[in-house]
Symmetry: D2
Subunit: 346 residues, 4 copies
């Protein structure tokens, strides 16, 4: 059993990591840190975890973490992650960062979008981007993994096969995404108030959302050229779930069947990706609570437009599940261990 | 007071028309027809209307309708509307059709998308398309009005000013729309089952939704050329509300401010359209229960992409409210009468 | 037109009052105060009110209020109301208080449940409890009206006819109530976070909720004896709506028909109360957005238990609508003016 | 591995059983029957189960079932269960019935509430009522288990310790329960239409709900005397979850602490029951997706009223999870196997 520390454990990413690690066959919860809830029992704060996790949140002390665990999941906000990561990495731990701090390769891009200077740019070249379906070669043995954001995960999974196959114009990619409210995190605010978001759908952060440069970086890497991303996130009245509907310009006359062949072959060996048959589109309910990504494809032949929709659970494949998946690979465990449970559907 | 008949009154469009006409200063509910609920009191079926409408549903008999009312709202499904419209029009009534039967000018297009032959194609040239913001010149005195679908309403309002101003490429228009469940109508089915749609967002009918040719017809009319429409509707877990996010390719380097000027000028005199200031996007909650359309605008300068989002209540501006608005104009009443009530917001 | 001031206008009670007064035939919005939003335009904060209210929030200055309006609605939290009410009443205005400050006749009970001393106990005898269906005799000409809480409104309406008729044991009344989230107010907190309350139902404040003594005061007044109230509020995932299910012990063998006779006669002249026929129970959706109260009745003959359910919209009949209804009566206007609009149902 | 047949597999109970058995360490899905979906692949109907269950629904043929599995879960409606149970029991299988057919010991009570004669009354004495927390002595080796309904499960768990301890009056028990929509089953109807139940709470089936006699039977068994049950179920806008708030009359002056002692001792060894500390009430979200029951307690000392709330997931502890729990005991497996996964909470 591998001892695990979760830093920032009472946030949504942390709670979800706690849930997943609690039933992981090869991992054991050793340390759960929380600056604000230190001293409180997990089950008192989260009754859903009550019968399963018999731990008390402790202060986020580096010594404690390093001496008690060999894997650290950083489930803290950006900037807080890069404050702790250097010491944790230096200690020899496997560090899996669910924050944005090590996702962007260029610290200037980070500074431009996040408004703060990057304080450990020297670690950026060592950080492995944790989207296994894109490239898992760097993950085995990795000591610092930067897990993708929820929107980039669904969007890159949706666009990747077409871009790699060279059948679409990489000049511009349109991304119309829809997320549940948990994407806004646990802290109460006007944007998470039930009455503000219930019975309503609305775009937000159009052209300014911080996942934009990460999507662009990923797509550009795949395409081998600078991709312009138009990213329009929307908030949808549901707790979990994220759907990214991606619009790509086909460069040749391909049918749905042609594109499905590209996608099913590309993802044939992926344990967590399902490509639906022609005519079926994914619903986020299908993947709720799971690490799966479900993809549906349509083609508008008149305008040569490829429409790809990818549904994930933003807190699992979009955050905590992907972190566990990456940790599994990094540690030499079976990739699906702890993640292979069917979802509820209803 | 103008006597009103609502045909197909217990469906969602009909109930909403009943609600609006019940508090209309110049209209009076005279006849509510229903083949399946004839004999039942309105308040027994819809307690929300109980204290306000003291009528019993009656069989949809043409004689009764013609002799009791001077305006007929057709709130029946497509095909049922064109069965009744000719007789009603011939009687001299003002007929406002909320179905799809007279929206498409070309009966062959109708037949291709709806799978049935049009049975009164001779009336098509006389039917006035009921989107007043697009063109209200034909509405005064009109005797057959074809009210637009909910998706076309929001989409045309979003795209119209930019297309008219000639600042966008009309070759292809991308429409990513999101609708609440009431858009599926009142009849229970798997797609309206609470547990199937709750906590989920999903695309449906991509490239096959029947509102596609209507959107294309409208955009083409505006652009003066054939517009290819890529239309991706999504279902969102809420009862009411529709958001159409439209992506247009700017042909010149315009800023958000430039585009806002075009939109605010275009809609300056429109009583039901609000264009939000830069940085603000509309939420469907803002317009719930009202006949308003709220529009927000963003521009991605790098790719010269214009993003316009338009929020409406699918049952009001998207159906019943628009029908009343058109009837008001047709009958020479103030356009806003019966529709000028603030929404609840929460 | 009567000029109206709304104090604490951007809270939920205030916004709802703004909405109702905006379409009131005999009232005009004159002053909307807000300590935190002074200087902001109503439509900027609440786009749903945008086209209808062209006012800017101003500081809650007594002079301004008194000089601009003849009716003041206090939509501020408890304690804030009793800070302002004395000066407003002294000025000769009609003051309608939606807070808890003047509901409890005994200042010691107030202090015990609210944890603060009452600062204007001398006004308590002059305050008229604003539940017209209970007793409207004191309302015409009243200068200080204490509007009931949302739970007491639904509960008193449910229990009143049976208690008055003397057919139930007044020793103990069981109240199991269910409220939507807007009852918790506009301020974001853990208890209004979408993800905390969505897809969940839970009791809260059992035996400690502050509406308990108000319900007990009302029931005791009706029964002419001290009534013990067991009050169990629950929070339900919806924005608006409140259902109070009240359990009463019948003292004789009455059938549903017997009890229905008592209720329908008691409420025969009430413009906002509907008593459903046997077998029909009210749903909060029926009254959403309206000032109506819908009541359903069942009897368990074996145990002589009377079950009465009353559904209201907590923000309308439970708060703002009732305040307008009371103001209408106080000012000699028709009681239903501004409140007689059918709800949406869907 | 024990081979399992699920009869009526595509209904909600069946799907939930499929999900649970799919990750059960000692059970294997062998046969999934469906009269209406025979021939369809599970993953096509339920994408959430796609990667986990590689089976095709087959016709509900007794021979097939008996020859392929040793445990049969009946997830069919009442009457359908008693048509199949005799043959399955006769074959020597372990039959776990999730329907109502074998819950009521008295076939006349069954006939009175379900309106049909019982066709296998001879099996009733052999059927073991499957609420392990009430009495698990009959379960090991049982060949016919009648799993309780969802409402009875939560209600009996809430009332049992107090009744057993003899501290409450068993003459009448008041049950105010709230259920999510999945309780209504998978078949679309007006009562499951999203727009009918969304944003609404309402009682239904007051004094007539078919779970009433089952609750009465259970409580009477516990109390050793005839208990009158007043049962008021409510429908709440959420997919899953059930809360039963039970009101009991204390016969002596007990404090919350006293009652908590009774409850915590009674459930000390129960793997799936948590009794919250004083002041904490359960929310259905805490138990969503799990087999747990969370209980909260309050006491109104003035009226000597005990309020107990019990939250369960109606599809797990209320149906499928309980069926697996019972099967585990019947088969000599660890009681918690396949059910010991933490819930999501969010």
């Amino acid at each position: 059993m591998i001892d695990v520390a979760i830093i920032g454990a009472p946030g949504y990413a942390g709670v979800e990591l706690t849930r997943l690690v609690a039933s992981h066959d090869h991992m054991r919860l050793a340390v759960l840190t929380s600056a604000s809830h230190a001293g409180r029992r997990v089950g008192d704060l989260y009754p859903a975890l009550g019968g399963h996790v018999d731990l008390v949140y402790v202060e986020p002390d580096i010594e404690t973490i390093v001496s008690s665990a060999s894997v650290a999941f950083l489930a803290v906000p950006h900037t807080a992650a890069m404050e702790m990561a250097p010491a944790l990495v230096a200690s020899g731990m496997t560090v899996v960062d669910a924050s944005a701090d090590y996702r962007l390769k260029d610290p200037e891009v980070y500074e431009r979008w996040y408004g703060v200077a990057h304080t450990s740019p020297d670690l950026l070249p060592h950080a492995v981007y944790g989207l296994p379906e894109l490239d898992r070669t760097g993950l085995p043995g990795a000591t610092l993994i930067a897990c993708p954001g929820c929107y980039p995960t669904a969007t890159l999974l949706a666009a990747m096969p077409a871009l790699e196959a060279g059948v679409v114009d990489a000049g511009r990619v349109l991304v119309d995404a829809k997320s549940g409210i948990s994407g806004a995190g646990k802290t109460p605010s006007a944007t998470t108030h039930y009455c503000n978001v219930n019975e309503s759908v609305a775009p937000y952060g159009v052209t300014t959302h911080r996942h934009t440069p990460e999507i662009a970086q990923g797509l550009s890497l795949i395409a081998g050229m600078q991709v312009n991303v138009v990213f329009t996130p929307h908030v949808v009245p549901m707790s979990r779930g994220l759907l990214s509907t991606v619009y790509l310009d086909l460069t040749t006359d391909l049918t749905v069947a042609d594109v499905l062949t590209i996608y099913t072959e590309r993802y044939a060996e992926e344990p967590f990706v399902t490509v639906h048959a022609a005519g079926r589109m994914p619903a986020t309910a299908e993947v709720r609570g799971t690490n799966r990504a479900h993809i549906g494809i349509a083609v508008d032949t008149a305008s040569r437009t490829l429409v790809v929709a990818c549904a994930i659970d933003n807190l699992v494949k979009g955050t905590a599940g992907q972190a566990v998946q990456c940790a599994n690979i990094a540690l030499g465990l079976p990739e699906s261990v702890g993640l292979d449970v069917p979802g509820m559907g209803v």
